[in-house]
């Protein structure tokens, strides 16, 4: 999707969300919140994204909420506002806050919901809502005390005072303070390091810590045990151990989405392949009656002439016109001729379009069938082929399929 108030980029497994309304010190308005949630959802659904970085452009990380919007906010609206902190916290991938300037109010709250906070030496933190006659509404009264303790949190929230980066580091609000010029490099280094780890292990570690914080110690330890059991079933674990024993660097592959907290406890069950419903391009051309896809033809009971698609007559003028039966054609044939078409006729949908081969395939029944070929490479007249059913395009939850012929391995 297109973003207006933020910049969303992905590179080398790292997705970066840059809040980009510098003239408003990146204050949060409704539009920005929606865009932010979309960006997080995109990062969540993209298996290539391993780490997310959040930063701000200009002088601020995020300086709070849009005051003009707050002015109009009703009680019900305030309750229904999307909480970006929760969105960040619930993302099952690590999130780093790269704080380059003001992280105030909602900005401080987003940063606190991140897994790691790196701050530049010019950055400022605070929960100034009290100055407007408000209280923090994005998790500030809950996360801040659990990070810095209730007394320090109350001091910050009651006074509305801003603290500088050094003080934030001292009270344990941020992981590290670096000179502004080194902020990006530092964050990149940490992000890359995490991205190189097993995404399964990182995800389970985040879940264990975040959920554990909301439980009593017994429940938390018990929860950790379950996840520790679960992580044993990950192929990344096998790789990690093997690499260690072989004294080499591990190559982690991660896991397909579906692994982890939503699966059954215990052994890893691979998620079922997303099976889309297949719809034939036209009724009456294909049959799966034999268990495999076949082309449906008609055969003359007298002269044995085949027609595809099935006809209600025999095309042989010598024969009794309507004495035909429906049959399934052989799946194997030989390439009689082919062409490569570099163009898509208007009603033909192939998504995505690419130049494709069309062949004339001779079947043992003595007829040639016109068919798309699955490849344009190494085609040769006389080669052996086998019929398959392949999608041309998707339509909703279904895919529209047609028959194609595929070279048999070793055929030339």
């Amino acid at each position: 999707m297109a973003y207006k108030n933020l910049i969303f980029e992905k590179k080398d497994g790292i997705a970066t969300i840059t809040m980009n309304r510098p003239e408003a010190l990146n204050a949060l308005n409704m539009e920005t919140r929606m865009e932010f949630m979309n960006a997080i959802a995109d990062a969540r659904d993209d298996d290539d994204v391993k780490v997310v970085v959040i930063q701000g452009s200009g002088r601020a990380f995020v300086a709070g909420s849009d005051i003009r919007e707050i002015k109009e906010t009703s009680m019900l609206q305030a309750r229904a506002l999307p909480r970006l902190g929760e969105v960040v916290e619930n993302l099952d991938k690590p999130v780093i806050a790269s704080v380059n300037g003001f992280a105030l109010g909602g900005g401080c709250e987003i940063a606190m919901a991140c897994d790691i906070i790196i701050a530049s030496d010019v950055s400022k933190f605070g929960q100034p809502e009290i100055n407007l006659g408000l209280i923090p509404g994005g998790g500030g009264t809950q996360r801040l005390p659990s990070i810095v303790g209730p007394h320090k949190a109350k001091e910050l929230i009651f006074t509305g005072d801003q603290i500088d980066a050094k003080e934030a580091e001292r009270i344990g609000l941020v992981n590290r303070v670096v000179p502004a010029a080194e902020l990006d490099a530092t964050v990149k280094e940490i992000a890359e390091k995490i991205a190189s780890k097993s995404t399964v292990a990182v995800k389970l570690a985040k879940a264990s810590i975040n959920r554990g914080l909301r439980m009593n110690l017994d429940a938390g330890l018990s929860y950790e045990k379950e996840l520790y059991g679960l992580v044993q079933t990950s192929p990344d674990k096998a790789e990690g151990i093997a690499a260690f024993l072989e004294k080499r660097k591990p190559v982690f592959k991660g896991m397909p989405s579906g692994f982890g907290l939503t699966t059954t406890w215990g052994a890893y069950v691979p998620p079922a392949a997303k099976e889309k419903k297949q719809i034939p391009i036209e009724e009456g051309l294909l049959s799966w009656a034999s268990g495999e896809p076949r082309l449906v033809a008609s055969k003359c009971k007298a002269c044995g002439t085949y027609s595809f698609p099935a006809s209600y007559t025999c095309p042989n003028p010598e024969c009794n016109t309507k004495d035909v039966e429906q049959v399934a054609l052989s799946r194997r044939g030989k390439l009689s001729s082919y062409t490569i078409q570099h163009y898509a006729p208007p009603i033909f949908r192939m998504e995505p379009f690419r130049p494709f081969a069309i062949g004339l395939v001779e079947l043992p029944e003595g007829i040639n069938v016109l068919s798309i070929l699955t490849t344009t490479e190494n085609l040769k007249v006389g080669m052996d082929l086998e019929m398959v059913v392949r999608p041309l395009y998707s339509e909703g939850d279904s895919e529209v399929v047609t028959w194609m012929f595929k070279p048999l391995e070793g055929s030339n």
Partner: protein, 400 residues
């Protein structure tokens, strides 16, 4: 009791793309020119046969009536015919038959076409049918445009007799040279073999410059009994034959718009059986053989067509047309010129009128009016045109 028939007037609207004109205007232009050529008036026409065009058709596809409306209704019989790309010669045959059988003394055949531009799309289904709509199905399921069919047969020919890419390019190069001399042709640029081979592959092995463009155009031909022809022209052209044939069961051609056909090893009819038959019928009707023919107009929808139809018309072995092209025997000035008009290579195909364009060219050649592309001593010419789904027509015309 049949009479001999002659052509006394021809008219052609140049081929091209004319977005501002509808097909009626193109048709009327061709008819008016043909009337002027025969030095007669519209009211003298006693019957009309018109080719139906598939693309920009008037409601109900009755183009002949549109022409009659435009020129003035005289109550004459109007026959509208369709046979895909062989349409207009079917129209000529109607006019020819009416005159030959004595139903009238002055008949006109007309074809006018507006094509949609680019590859022909699927023809919209005119009547809902429960059976497979092949015309749409081959596009939808396999993506096969018309040139796909040509390319498939072309590659089989290359496998059988070793036709080369150079020979395919040569056909276009030769026809482009002829077309450059024809004021009615759409494309007047001369292409070398190298130019053609540099053009992009569209349906491997056929290239952009080796397959027909689609054009707008119109042509009209006026016929009357041979015995009366001298009243209208001092150079009447006799119709020695005007044949129609369709495909035969067991023909292994990869014919538009099939999804399957008979394997070559089980073929029971010759390749392009409709053309072989139409040409044979024409020779029989005219009492002639290929040796009698001085020049040929054939449907070079692609370079492959030029080769197969040259062989079909001259009754040669497969592969011999390649040699003739290489030896320039089919050039203007060669032993037997093929497509001196420039052919479809230079005109682009105007479906329902292409056959009449061939007839016009043969008439100009036989009258000695073909200017810089004149074939020396042209006395007898053969025109042949083919249409999808197994249609074919052939005419043999001679100088009287």
């Amino acid at each position: 009791m049949s009479r001999e028939v002659a052509i006394v007037g021809i008219g052609m609207h140049p081929w091209g793309v004319f977005p501002e004109q509808d097909f009626g205007e193109l048709a009327v232009d061709a008819v008016v020119k043909a009337l002027a050529d025969a030095k007669i008036s519209w009211t003298q026409i006693e019957a009309m046969a018109a080719g139906i065009h598939g693309w920009s058709g008037s409601p109900g596809l009755i183009p002949g009536n549109v022409v009659a409306n435009a020129l003035g209704e005289t109550g004459i019989p109007v026959i509208n015919v369709y046979a895909a790309c062989a349409t207009s010669v079917s129209a000529l045959r109607q006019a020819y038959q009416m005159v030959s059988f004595g139903m009238c003394d002055m008949a006109i055949a007309v074809g006018a076409e507006k094509t949609p531009g680019g590859f022909f799309p699927a023809i919209p289904r005119l009547a809902e049918s429960k059976k497979f709509d092949y015309w749409a199905l081959r596009f939808k399921a396999v993506g096969a445009t018309n040139p796909v069919y040509w390319a498939l047969d072309c590659r089989r020919r290359m496998e059988r007799v070793g036709t080369t890419e150079q020979v395919l390019a040569l056909a276009k190069a030769k026809n482009s040279k002829n077309g450059a001399l024809n004021p009615n042709a759409r494309f007047k640029k001369v292409f070398s073999v190298e130019d053609v081979l540099k053009s992009p592959l569209v349906v491997d092995p056929l290239r952009l410059l080796e397959i027909a463009a689609t054009s707008d155009g119109a042509a009209a031909v006026i016929v009357c009994p041979l015995e009366k022809a001298k009243q209208f022209t001092d150079r009447p052209i006799k119709i020695d034959a005007c044949s129609i044939a369709t495909g035969q069961f067991g023909d292994p051609t990869c014919r538009i718009p099939i999804l399957s056909n008979v394997a070559e090893s089980k073929a029971k009819a010759p390749l392009i059986s409709e053309s072989v038959r139409a040409v044979s019928l024409a020779y029989k009707q005219a009492g002639m053989t290929p040796e009698d023919i001085d020049l040929i107009e054939l449907p070079d929808n692609s370079s492959w067509h030029e080769l197969v139809y040259t062989e079909c018309i001259l009754k040669l072995q497969e592969g011999e047309a390649d040699r003739m092209l290489e030896k320039h025997e089919t050039d203007i000035g060669g032993r037997i010129p093929v497509c001196p008009s420039g052919g479809i290579a230079s005109f682009g195909e105007a479906v329902s009128t292409q056959g009449l364009a061939q007839v016009c060219e043969l008439v100009w050649q036989l009258r000695g009016q073909a200017g810089p592309r004149q074939v020396e001593n042209a006395k007898i010419g053969l025109g042949q045109v083919y249409g999808a789904q197994g249609n074919n027509s052939a005419v043999i015309l001679s100088k009287v």
